[in-house]
């Protein structure tokens, strides 16, 4: 097994675990950023540079900005709540054995599948991502436009000024 593969997977999984279990939300957000980085690198490794760079800009950039904003906007008011939170912090590990057992059972059940391995197929596609998006995934483009409209309207509505019923 190649070393860089392990490193990439590790770069994806370890920050993810950190993001899940980190005490501080800000640290969790940063860990998520690192996981996004790992994902982007894995994508490059799989031969998907465009999606990788998109993930890099959006996942690493935009989403982290949104999260850090939200965290900093909400953490100021909840001082006593933070005390409370530290108090039962370790309760989140309570169900961990269940998780491990479930993953184990899943792996065990599907071991034949994993052992068989998957064949690597050579790329034989014509065209670039842009061409494909435009030519055969036009509906997805419209969908993206619609969903961005939903997002814009939604943010405009949810942060509207004045009374909710005004």
């Amino acid at each position: 097994m190649e070393l860089h593969l392990l490193i990439l997977i590790g770069l994806l999984l370890i920050p993810a675990v950190l993001a899940a279990f980190a005490m501080d939300l800000l640290r969790a957000a940063i860990a998520l950023l690192v996981a996004s980085l790992g994902l982007a690198l894995t994508m490059f490794n799989l031969g998907a540079p465009l999606a990788g760079s998109f993930e890099l800009s959006v996942g690493v950039g935009l989403i982290t900005v949104l999260f850090v904003n939200a965290i900093s906007l909400t953490r100021l008011v909840s001082e006593e709540e933070r005390l409370e939170r530290t108090k039962d912090h370790y309760r989140r590990f309570a169900l961990l054995p269940v998780l491990v057992v479930l993953i184990g059972a899943l792996m065990y059940r599907t071991q034949d599948f994993w052992a068989a391995g998957l064949e690597f197929v050579k790329y034989d596609e014509a065209g670039t991502v842009g061409e494909i998006l435009w030519k055969s995934r036009g509906l997805d483009l419209i969908g993206q436009i619609v969903i961005i409209m939903v997002g814009v309207y939604g943010v405009a509505i949810l942060f509207r000024r004045g009374s909710p019923n005004g």
């Binding site: 894995t42 799989l46 391995g117 055969s136 943010v155």
Partner: protein, 102 residues
């Protein structure tokens, strides 16, 4: 023999489990969203892996890009709803979201 795709699929499964686990045990609404983010990472990876397994990597990139756009919009709206909750209840604890029950 464990090759790159198998490793990726296993990573997807582990990411899913971590994400779900976080969404179940977390008390802070933001951490639930982080759990969702972890799952989305897994999904994006799964699509790309699927594409490279059957040789349609370019096609799968187109799909992945759409997924990432939708994910961003989702997170933006979700964070807006979280902020409204914060404004209404001065708290982000999901255990306090129990007005509707029974």
């Amino acid at each position: 023999m464990v090759n790159i795709f198998v490793a990726d699929w296993i990573a997807v499964i582990i990411l899913f489990c971590i994400g779900l686990y976080t969404m179940i045990v977390a008390k802070n609404m933001l951490r639930i969203l982080i759990g969702f983010e972890i799952m989305t990472k897994g999904v994006t990876l799964a699509i790309i892996t699927a594409g490279s397994v059957n040789g349609k990597i370019v096609f799968s990139q187109a799909l992945a890009i759409t997924v990432i756009v939708i994910e961003v919009v989702f997170i933006a709206i979700a964070l807006a709803i979280v902020m409204i909750t914060q404004k209404n209840k001065r708290s982000l604890d999901v255990r306090k979201l129990t007005n509707l029950k029974g």
